[in-house]
Symmetry: C2
Subunit: 365 residues, 2 copies
């Protein structure tokens, strides 16, 4: 079933210039175009190939359908000392979420923590970008978002929830930060897309058919099936993955005034927007907690180093596969790709070439 | 392998009176004894039989070892508008955590949210008790704690993390609250204990041997094995369960000044306290967010009702197993058991009888 994929390597700066030019063509300001491109490329840099420029044409498709406002007037709906809610005015999540995170960080500076719910937004790229913004301020960053309804709750065969990611970014000392950035489904949709492109059968436990039977068919999701929550089935704890996903949906969607559950306006092209929406756009939740709000910063960092160093040497089952610190593989990708460039599979390169031709733009492909 | 278990039904009030008398014998004040008993019995009431009076003798064992201070002087180590850290002075987690949650709620009243880290504590019962305290104030409650090192990170065969539970309690309108209360391991230790008592083989994916091989042996954990993180193996997403557990450990343990990872002082009797501890006791993290800090409370509640009602009717795989709203089964247990009493298995009854004899107390068994 497997077939090898071909890659083109594109220099980060060339790709950045191109992506900025695309967002400008969509009507974003210079500042917003740079920000959106930075968020999108952070994903490619960190090795999360599914959430980077591979999604650029998806954003364009939504914009062409009138679902993205590239000149948003972001409004503050509610503002307390440590909490706030923003209306993203249908802007790019790539632009709206960083504004919300800035606000959370400012609040954390004044009172120890800041929490900002966002409605009326769109796909915000990787949660990691937003949460990691807090690190430079010696804060723990937190980001979550609801997303296209693709995941079935435990016992259901209906697509009710998104892959609803959760991210925590935690600073450390001489060791790198710990960054936990995860979909609350057994497998992220991006992983599935890779298997689809390779026409490679899936492990059981990732998806089920529209009859609720676990399947290895890589096209099963588009054929009416659904993703399974983290835990895959009831016995292995899928009710926990479902619970986490529900929590993300409620705090990002219900609390903010956005849509939630099966009403979240889909990013994927094979789903339609539902009628009788209960809210606006999709929702995010961004948070920042100052380390200094709880303990001495230097003491915390040296304790984090001890945590990381101890976990690194926890006894491996197989010496060839040592224990991984969350966020470390992504940090290594970033260090490497910033120098060597970003490998893009041919499907993505062709997709980006089409974008370049469509907008009549110079391109590096 | 299965054998039927026999139960005794004990009236809630009788059990409460007995448990209060035990805590008094341990030297707790009247107020603390009532609080500790209330927290412990909440678990039995909600059907989480593993975390209630079944653990009473465990608390006594720790107290006899000098690891629990029944007259704690809880100290505020740091206090900002929305954040704080407490030193629990080796008190019962059953008493320390409610004080921390009260503080979080008070902070949320003044600035929209409150977050309290706790060091130098002990086992706090079910996370749900603490998070649910926020509901009466129209707040979202959050509780987590680190715990006895029993879980191996992905790729490891070493016990490094606790079952590190996470709870979110979210108010609703005419529907009950949504309460997500879950261990971040594939199966909680309590579930394992039930299989041990029944001598019932485990599903694969719950635990592994000390060689890192998945096993069905219900005694495998005590024989040197480890619990597996939620997701069970790398392909099914155990790195996500490990990541969540790491987050709980860091925010509850590293941030608060408590012990963390393999150094968390164990509650289970088959593990010893480690040398060269990096902190004090174990750690919790309690939080509260005012709904009014984000949106109109009544509007939120009616949106939550819509969420709950929609999820309840999501298409089931099998009509006999409808989709469950997190927290609903526990609420039903509570409604029933408050009237009909609490069923205790004979092992637990015998254990409690021994306690009664040890302290020369009247008992209802």
């Amino acid at each position: 079933m497997t077939s090898e994929l071909n890659y083109s390597i594109i220099a980060v700066n060339d790709l950045m210039v191109f992506v900025i030019s695309v967002f400008k063509q969509m009507g974003c300001t210079e500042v917003d175009s740079k920000l959106a491109a930075e968020v999108l490329l952070k994903s490619d840099l960190r090795g999360i190939d599914s959430h980077g420029v591979a999604r650029l044409s998806g954003y364009i498709r939504l914009w062409e359908k009138g679902r993205i406002n590239t000149k948003p007037n972001i409004k503050v709906l509610r503002d307390k000392t440590s909490t706030a809610t923003l209306d993203g005015d249908a802007g790019l999540g790539l632009v709206v979420a960083p504004r919300a995170m800035e606000m959370a960080i400012e609040k954390a500076k004044t009172c120890g923590s800041g929490w900002v719910a966002v409605s009326n937004s769109n796909h915000f790229g990787i949660a990691g970008y937003h949460a990691m913004k807090a690190l430079a301020y010696n804060m723990i960053g937190h980001a979550m978002t609801n997303a296209s309804p693709l995941v079935a709750p435990t016992f259901s065969k209906e697509r009710m929830l998104g892959t609803n990611p959760i991210c925590y970014a935690i600073p450390a000392g001489k060791c790198g930060p710990v960054v936990i950035d995860m979909a609350t489904s057994a497998a992220a949709n991006g992983k599935l897309e890779i298997s689809q492109r390779k026409n490679q059968s899936l492990p059981l436990g990732w998806i089920q058919t529209d009859d609720g039977i676990e399947t290895r068919n890589p096209h099963g999701l588009k054929e009416g099936g659904s993703l399974l929550p983290l835990g895959s089935n009831r016995m292995m704890g899928s009710h926990k993955g479902y619970g986490l996903s529900a929590m993300v949906d409620i705090i990002s969607g219900v609390l903010s005034g956005a849509n939630f559950g099966p009403w979240v306006p889909p990013f994927v092209s094979f789903l339609e927007v539902q009628p009788n929406l209960p809210g606006k756009g999709l929702g995010h939740f961004l948070g920042a907690m100052e380390i200094d709000g709880f303990c001495d910063v230097e003491d915390f960092k040296s304790r984090m180093d001890r945590w990381i160093e101890r976990f690194k040497i926890s006894i491996p089952i197989d010496a060839a596969n040592p224990v991984i610190i969350p966020g470390e593989p992504e940090a290594e990708f970033e260090k490497e790709r910033i120098i060597s460039g970003i490998p893009l599979i041919i499907d993505v390169v062709n997709d980006l070439k089409k974008v370049a031709i469509h907008f009549n733009l110079d391109h590096p492909f």
